[in-house]
């Protein structure tokens, strides 16, 4: 018996990448096995959730392995290590229960593909296209507004759109340029 530091998603499948939740919330097969043997449960934070969000893609280790993500994980790891240190100081037996195959939580098996990256493969013009601004553009708009600066005119490169036509794209850009 002791303290089991468990991956966040074992108690909360809502944190999983889309299409990855195996059940509504608590993944009982692992939790029950620990508790049936008298182990305390202590949940670790999910490193991907706060950094890459709920709409993140499935990813391999190489895609997440950036300096910024490393710093994020290091910050979380400090909090977990401090907790483990307390339990070890109390003489508790400690185990860490991860998620094999995960690019973040694998303990003996992770996922890897050095060549994966770039544009996900799905058809052009699918339903993800909708009117509105992107997040960065919205933030630029907000930042300019706070400074009392009008949002500038905009033009767009349209290559990703289903009805993309180079001549139309060019005409649109020229129209913006020519009409202050």
């Amino acid at each position: 018996m002791g303290v089991a530091f468990v991956a966040h998603c074992l108690l909360n499948q809502n944190s999983k990448v889309g299409d990855g939740a195996h059940c509504a919330g608590v993944y009982s097969p692992v939790i029950d096995a620990l508790r049936d043997r008298g182990w305390r449960i202590e949940q670790m934070p999910c490193p991907e959730l706060a950094f890459t969000g709920l709409n993140r893609f499935w990813a391999v280790k190489e895609q997440l392995d950036t300096a910024a993500y490393r710093r994020h994980c290091a910050r979380l790891a400090e909090a977990v290590a401090a907790a483990i240190s307390v339990r070890v100081g109390q003489g508790e037996d400690v185990v860490l229960v991860g998620v094999e195959g995960s690019p973040s939580m694998g303990v003996t098996i992770t996922s890897s593909d050095p060549l994966r990256g770039g544009r996900p493969e799905w058809p052009d013009g699918t339903a993800e296209h909708t009117s509105g601004e992107g997040i960065f553009v919205e933030e630029i708009r907000n930042a300019l507004a706070r400074r009392g600066i009008n949002f500038p005119r905009v033009a767009g490169e349209t290559h990703a759109l289903a009805d993309h036509d180079e001549a139309t794209q060019r005409a649109g850009i020229e129209s913006v340029l020519d009409n202050p």
Binding site: H8, L11, N12, Q13, N14, S15, K16, G18, D19, G20, A21, H22, C23, A24, G25, V26, S28, I31, R35, R40, I41, E42, Q43, P45, C46, L49, A50, G53, L54, N55, L76, E78, A79, A82, A83, V86
Partner: protein, 125 residues
């Protein structure tokens, strides 16, 4: 996304209900039965320098889920939770300190549906 079985419901649960004493209320079992996920709040025996960062991470994750319309409740609470949530601009969810597992399950089952879901108009989360 059809295979994803998440509930979009999350209970923030005090340690004494995650690791209950004998004959105590087992909130993990109750959450599993009612179809809720669990985010565990730091155990009360941790010193402040350990609790603070753990609560901050809880709050950050709650913030992210909240931005996507997930539903929350608090089970049992934690003295530092309100402050941690306030720092990320999230209100403290409705709370219960259950006397029995049945009471907790009834509470969870009686909550309104979350804003998030797999409705075709919504993104995951």
């Amino acid at each position: 996304m059809k295979a994803d079985e998440r509930s979009f419901r999350i209970a923030l649960v005090a340690d004494r209900f995650v690791n209950p004493p004998p004959r105590g209320v087992d909130a993990v079992a109750a959450a599993a039965e009612a179809g809720w996920g669990v985010i565990q709040l730091p155990p009360d025996d941790y010193p402040a320098e350990v609790t603070g960062p753990l609560l901050a991470e809880v709050a950050e994750q709650v913030e992210e889920f909240s931005r996507h319309g997930y539903a929350f409740v608090v089970v049992g609470g934690h003295a530092g939770l309100a402050g941690a949530l306030a720092r990320v601009g999230v209100a403290v969810p409705d709370q219960i300190t259950p006397a029995t597992a049945v009471q907790l399950i009834d509470f969870l089952n009686g909550r309104p549906a979350p804003a998030a879901g797999w409705d075709a108009s919504q993104a995951p989360g």
